[in-house]
């Protein structure tokens, strides 16, 4: 019984911790399957979050009456636009201009973090109520609206129904991406682009288009992780504390842990989320907390090492990951 109550306390928290990672992970998997290693994911999550905040802020501040659909839709669309634009910058640099992917990704992260904190800080100043953060009271309620029967269904409700819609969307998106990659022709083509772009090209696949679409859609998905983090997890607040960036890198770690499989990412995100907050539940002293926070990275490193030793072909990163493709290469 004690165990069950522990699970009831622990698991929902682990899930809410894990959802931003899951978005980031799914988005990055989609991106990497096209052969693009986008290290700009933390920056994209920043922009995804702040764009949602900006949209929500202006609607909440200036709308006379708030339409429940628009309350959700405006931040949602703003977030998608913001992160999509970021991914587009990355795509243009690496796909069209064939720039080095590591360098372009890191620049994107610097830029994204700057954009996030700049607008975040500016909004705080705009509100000017003396607090160092802004809070979207109404928007956050809309985003945190749990399923109607959550309260009535006992432990089941608490465990499975007690989340905002973005959490369910994260799982749906992960499953959808997994299915697309595994079961559809589009997925087959995309994997071919990431594995061997010259072959995909010769097979008549528009490599450039696949890379662009996968990277941009991947970026938008990752951006939703930022949106979930600020609207749901942080209850509609923005603080310039760098916590979102840490989650971005964790999401990239999760991609490796999940062996580039989005459905494994679902389990992995809960595991990573759980590891991240485990110290709260096992009664350790505050000073050991960081060592627990280190666990997800250590686990990822171990997975990375094991897969490289085992050399199972199916578990390796996409073969052309990190390389630009130029058809007339000789």
């Amino acid at each position: 019984m004690a165990f069950l109550s522990f699970i009831l306390r622990f698991l929902p928290r682990a899930v809410t911790q894990g959802i931003p990672l899951l978005y980031g992970c799914t988005g990055e998997i989609l991106t990497e399957k096209s052969g693009n290693l986008n290290l700009g994911i933390p920056g994209i999550m920043y922009v995804g979050g702040i764009s949602g905040i900006i949209g929500g802020f202006f609607y909440e501040t200036y709308a006379a009456e708030m339409n429940p659909v628009l309350t959700i839709l405006i931040p949602f669309v703003c977030s998608l636009l913001g992160s999509g634009l970021m991914a587009l910058i990355y795509s243009f640099l690496t796909i069209t201009l064939r720039a080095n992917q590591n360098v372009a990704g890191l620049a994107l992260t610097i830029f994204g973090e700057g954009v996030g904190n700049f607008f975040g800080g500016s909004l705080v100043k705009l509100v000017n109520n003396g607090s160092a953060e802004i809070k979207l009271n109404k928007t956050n309620v809309a985003f945190r609206q749990v399923l109607p029967f959550a309260k009535d269904w006992g432990w089941f409700g608490e465990l499975f129904l007690n989340y905002g819609f973005l959490a369910y969307l994260a799982i749906l998106v992960a499953v959808a991406v997994a299915l697309v990659l595994k079961r559809t022709k589009t997925g087959l083509n995309l994997r071919a682009v990431g594995e061997n772009p010259a072959t995909a090209d010769a097979a008549g696949i528009n490599v450039t288009r696949y890379k662009y679409v996968a990277t941009c859609v991947g970026g938008m998905i990752a951006g939703l992780g930022g949106l979930y983090y600020v609207m749901d997890y942080q209850m509609g607040t923005w603080a310039n504390d760098g916590a979102l960036g840490a989650r971005g890198w964790l999401a990239i770690a999760l991609v490796i842990f999940a062996l580039w499989k989005p459905h494994v990412g679902i389990i992995g995100s809960v595991l990573f989320g759980g590891l991240y907050i485990l110290y709260n539940y096992v009664g350790v002293a505050r000073n050991i907390e960081p060592l627990f926070n280190m666990l997800p990275y250590v686990v990822t490193i171990v997975v990375l090492i094991i897969t490289s030793i085992r050399k199972k072909r199916e578990n390796q990163p996409p073969a052309s990951l990190g390389l630009a493709y130029f058809r007339e290469e000789r």
């Binding site: 079961r183 071919a192 072959t199 008549g204 073969a319």
Partner: protein
């Protein structure tokens, strides 16, 4: 034959940087015809075909399909005109199954599923008599299986113009015959087939007409039945080639390199060397003949200390000290430190023998950078040697700093050869040293090998042209799937005899 060609090229030109790969090429193929494109390595055959299949885009010129001018911007455009190309380096995704590779990139009306794709591929196999498991992953396949998948790919797309780039280079004779049977059947069905090759007998036995390219330029097209191998050779190389290498009798012939019972297996678990034993003598050229990929590379790399072995011995007899030393499991540097003057011209010049992005001086330095005391490299001596090589071997280069990747193939090889000879080697191994070179450069190389032999060097020469092997070498060793199938006297051997040893499939005796 109908009057309008299925595909026609007019004045097509393609440049890569300053290199002209194709210059004003004209070409046409009819329906129900097999056309051979004949040319030496580096004559621009593959580049030309890549423009038809949409991989490259021509700088100038026009392409016509059934008399209509078309623009082929991408492989997708090529499919639309029912053009399918089977590349020499297979364009397959290793991680996918045969079926997945076949349906890759196609837009089909019905819903895609792994199962139905496999089903359709199996049906296609049955129709053409291929034996292949549609669910087998490419990385588990043999070379000929991979080629079958490539052919299935273009057939599945309903291609009626097929381009095959050196399809027989990696096949056994039996597999080659099977392939030719399939191609002839396709011709009967009205397909147009273009086959790129540099093997004359294949041209003669298979094709209806032959188009010849030389150094990127279009020479002529002739009807196969009305020509001879000699005439084609002349068109291909530009002048009547009489291999006229003055071969001296080996002098002071002594054991230099003794190789005993070498065995090795590659990472895919394929046995690459199988109980290989032989001896190389000073003052002779030992030729090695065999189909590409039969273990030649592994053998030379094993001797040079680049290939780990399962078992065997490599013994070197030092002419100065009269000592015998073991070279096995020593790397290049350790071998050098033993006082063994072993030079190796690898097949992959820019990827192994030289650093493409470095100039001549630094490439000379490559093999000498550890010379001299202290932690710094000394470039004075390499510079001297570089100047010497440029002068002695007539290397054409703007200056000594220009990256060697910008030099032509012949000049690259001269730099590599010059560097290796600067060590005054006692053993010289050369793998395909004239591949991709023009006739004049080739002759420079042959002469250098001959000179070395006369100086008392043990020369080991891996070649692909049997005529050259027979004219140049003293003895010829034949390797077949990692096994030595014969050692013949080059002065009395015939091409047929060697060809048989290269291709016979029953185990074979050891030399």
């Amino acid at each position: 034959m109908k009057g309008i060609p299925a595909i026609e090229l007019r004045n097509v030109t393609k440049k890569f940087g300053s290199v002209v790969a194709n210059k004003n090429v004209n070409l046409s193929v009819m329906r129900g015809e097999i056309l051979s494109i004949l040319g030496e390595n580096g004559s621009g055959k593959t580049t030309l075909m890549n423009m038809i299949s949409g991989i490259y885009y021509p700088d100038e010129g026009q392409i016509f399909i059934d008399g209509e001018e078309v623009v082929i911007r991408s492989p997708k455009d090529a499919f639309r005109y029912k053009i399918g190309m089977i590349h020499q380096h297979f364009k397959l995704v290793d991680l996918f199954t045969a079926a997945e590779n076949v349906v890759l990139g196609l837009e089909e009306k019905e819903k895609y599923s792994v199962k139905s794709a496999a089903q359709k591929v199996a049906e296609l196999c049955e129709r053409y008599g291929f034996e292949i498991d549609p669910n087998k992953k490419i990385y588990e396949m043999s070379v000929s299986e991979k080629q079958t998948v490539e052919i299935l790919k273009v057939l599945y797309r309903g291609a009626d113009i097929l381009i095959l780039d050196e399809p027989t280079a990696v096949l056994t004779p039996q597999e080659t015959q099977k392939l030719f049977a399939v191609l002839r059947k396709m011709r009967e069905e009205g397909h147009s087939i273009v086959i790129i090759t540099h093997k004359l007998h294949e041209v003669m036995s298979l094709s209806d007409r032959v188009s010849v390219l030389r150094k990127g330029e279009y020479i002529d097209t002739v009807v196969t039945a009305e020509t001879t191998e000699e005439e084609l050779t002349e068109m291909m190389v530009g002048q009547k080639v009489v291999l006229n290498i003055e071969r001296s009798e080996p002098k002071d012939r002594r054991e230099r390199l003794m190789v005993k019972d070498l065995n090795c297996t590659n990472t895919d678990g394929v046995k690459m060397l199988n109980h290989v034993s032989f001896t190389a003598y000073s003052g002779e050229i030992l030729g090695i003949a065999g189909i590409a990929g039969s273990g030649q590379r592994e053998l030379l790399e094993a001797i040079a200390g680049l290939q780990s072995l399962e078992s065997g011995e490599i013994l070197y007899h030092n002419p100065k000290t009269d000592e015998v030393v073991e070279l096995r499991d020593k790397n290049t540097k350790q071998i050098h430190d033993l006082g063994v003057r072993l030079s190796f011209i690898p097949e992959d010049r820019l990827g192994m023998g030289l650093v493409a992005n470095m100039g001549i001086v630094d490439n000379i330095l490559l093999r000498r950078y550890q010379k001299g005391k202290g932690m710094f490299v000394q470039r004075a001596k390499p510079r001297e040697i570089a100047e010497q090589i440029v002068e002695d071997l007539n290397v054409v280069t703007p200056d000594l700093k220009t990256p060697v990747r910008r030099l032509s193939g012949g000049n690259v090889q001269k730099v590599l050869l010059g560097r290796e000879l600067s060590f005054t080697p006692t053993v010289l191994m050369a793998a395909y040293p004239v591949r991709g070179l023009d006739i004049n450069s080739s002759y420079t190389i042959y002469n250098v090998l001959n000179e070395q032999k006369e100086k008392g060097v043990a020369v080991i020469f891996v070649g692909e042209d049997l005529d050259v092997l027979i004219d140049l070498c003293d003895r010829i060793m034949v390797i077949n799937s990692g096994t030595i199938t014969g050692m013949v006297d080059a002065r009395s051997a015939t091409k047929e005899q060697i060809g048989l040893l290269m291709t016979k499939t029953d185990g074979g005796a050891e030399a």
